[in-house]
Amino acid sequence: MTDSELAPAPAASGSVVAFEHVTKRYGNGPPAVTDLSLEIRAGEICVLVGPSGCGKTTTMKMVNRLVEPTSGRVTIDGADVASLPAVDLRRRIGYVIQQVGLFPHLTVAENVAVVPRLLGWGEPRITERVEELLELVGLDPGAYRSRYPAALSGGERQRVGVARAMAADPSVLLMDEPFGAVDPIRRERLQNEFLRLQARLRKTIVFVTHDVDEAIKMADRIAILQVGGVLAQYDSPDRLLATPASPFVEHFVGADRGLKRLSLARVRDLPLERPVTVVVGESFAAARQRLPDGTMWALVIDAQQRPLGWIAAHDLAGEGRVDAAMATPGSTLLQPESTLRDALSAMLVSSVQLGVVVDEHDAVLGVISVAAISRTLQDGAGSPPP
């Protein structure tokens, strides 16, 4: 997430979405959304998150008028959404729901083409757009175009759902737990791919989730809502974790706030330690000469600098040559893009509490230790909130 702030961002193709004192009441009961005011900047992902009953989905649905506010207004680029006929408004906004809702009686291509057809696009333009979108979401158009939803896996359906929402190139996307219906592994992949997509397209996205971790990962800014649709805090993930505005936010984000901040940092943000390395084929004597005093372990690498495992210093006594079979594997291999949180999780379950960082050719870049990550935890946590 920090990258996008450093590199020059592509021009946003999104609109500004604003809520102005929006309240939603059903009947005479307590309000579902209370006096909500916030502005989502163009090209940003705003994640609405909160406990059950906090009105996050209701809020999102007020953008495409599936729900109408009782008072206040919602605007897109300054224009009140109520000023357009609802049907026209919805054709300009992408909508992705948790169960995806692909039309079972239409092929993948026909599903993606739904809104363009509603808008009256010509056939050639539709065909081209469908191709483009399927490739964008990682599905080979040739293979998937004529398939029916029943023949797709859960992950494939989610992708088609995203493609379908983007078909008419809307400036605003509404996503209600879009990755909720797949398993965690697939979800992570879908999230990563979507973030990469967003980095290119920079749409304005209103994203609803109940999962705080997903919010932290996906959001440019997070809006935490309390029951009754009361805005508790609206901030970037970093500031939210560092300075929660109330006990509620603190509690909702979780006692492991510090740990969560590890999701914001990546392995490459840490200074890497240089391990002592011995190469396969080297003689014990040569290796011993290079070992600093007090070294317990050395990393065995091959000719391409790829790590094979660890060898104890005392095993290098006497005569002999370093052999691959002498290396004891046990370290997790990490990449520079991995989050510190994922790194820590992986390292804690391995037998050696050192993670070896490798580049895209699997060559060693350095090692990091659990201790180094812990230090980041302490430094980053800073002083307790007021």
Partner: protein
């Protein structure tokens, strides 16, 4: 019936193939008119009660009453009003189909998964577009199931219209078979009627398959 006469006379069948074919054709026409008008009436009524749910009870109640009244009684009630003829017969036939067609039509529309309906609305379909492009296609299997039952039932009922002068296989069964004590005609008439019903049913199954190419897809992990 004379003792010793054979029960089934094939020679009569062979001699009267023309007549049998003609009566069968009449039977088919009467059925088509009945089911056709039944669908014509049931379709808008179904759409109406799908939208205004409060009408479901009364409409199904009326259809249920029409279904419960025996066809002969319906003739007895209608003849003083609509006379003896095709119209009376068809009114009776049509009123039988209504209950099943409306019930299945409603069940079919209600059976479309709610998230699909929501997705369609959220994407910007008008009510009518949503109905035509999403809900009705997905309701086809249940709707056709209703048409199958209505058709088979109607084929059985057409026979009774022979009593008020309509043709069809009822003429063979009743006028020739029963009134003249001729079992062969009864058997042939019934047999042809069942055959028609089977053909109609299978034909509609094929039609359903042709209209729902997506139903054969399923091979993903879900």
């Amino acid at each position: 019936m004379t003792e010793g006469a054979p029960f089934f006379r094939l020679d009569w069948v062979v001699d009267n193939l023309d007549m049998l074919a003609q009566r069968t054709a009449e039977h088919v026409v009467l059925t088509l008119i009945g089911v056709g008008f039944g669908i014509l009436i049931a379709f808008p009524v179904t759409l109406l009660i799908h939208r205004r749910r409060r009408l479901i009870g009364p409409v199904l109640g009326v259809a249920g009453i029409l279904y419960a009244i025996p066809s002969l009684a319906v003739f007895g009630l209608l003849i003083p009003v609509t006379g003896i003829g095709l119209v009376t017969a068809e009114i009776a036939l049509v009123s039988y189909t209504l209950l099943i067609l409306i019930r299945n039509g409603l069940a079919g529309l209600d059976g479309v998964a709610p998230e699909i309906v929501e997705a369609a609305t959220g994407m910007g379909h008008t009510r009518i577009q949503r109905l035509w492009r999403v809900q009705l296609p997905l309701a086809i299997p249940v709707i056709i199931a209703g048409i199958r039952i209505a058709t088979v039932t109607t084929i059985g009922l057409v026979a009774v219209t022979a009593l008020i002068g309509q043709g069809g296989l009822g003429f063979v069964i009743i006028t020739i078979g029963i009134n003249r004590f001729f079992p062969t005609a009864i058997l042939v008439g019934v047999g042809l009627s069942v055959l028609l019903a089977v053909l109609a049913d299978r034909g509609l199954v094929l039609a359903e398959r042709a209209l729902t190419p997506w139903a054969r897809a399923g091979s993903g992990e879900g």
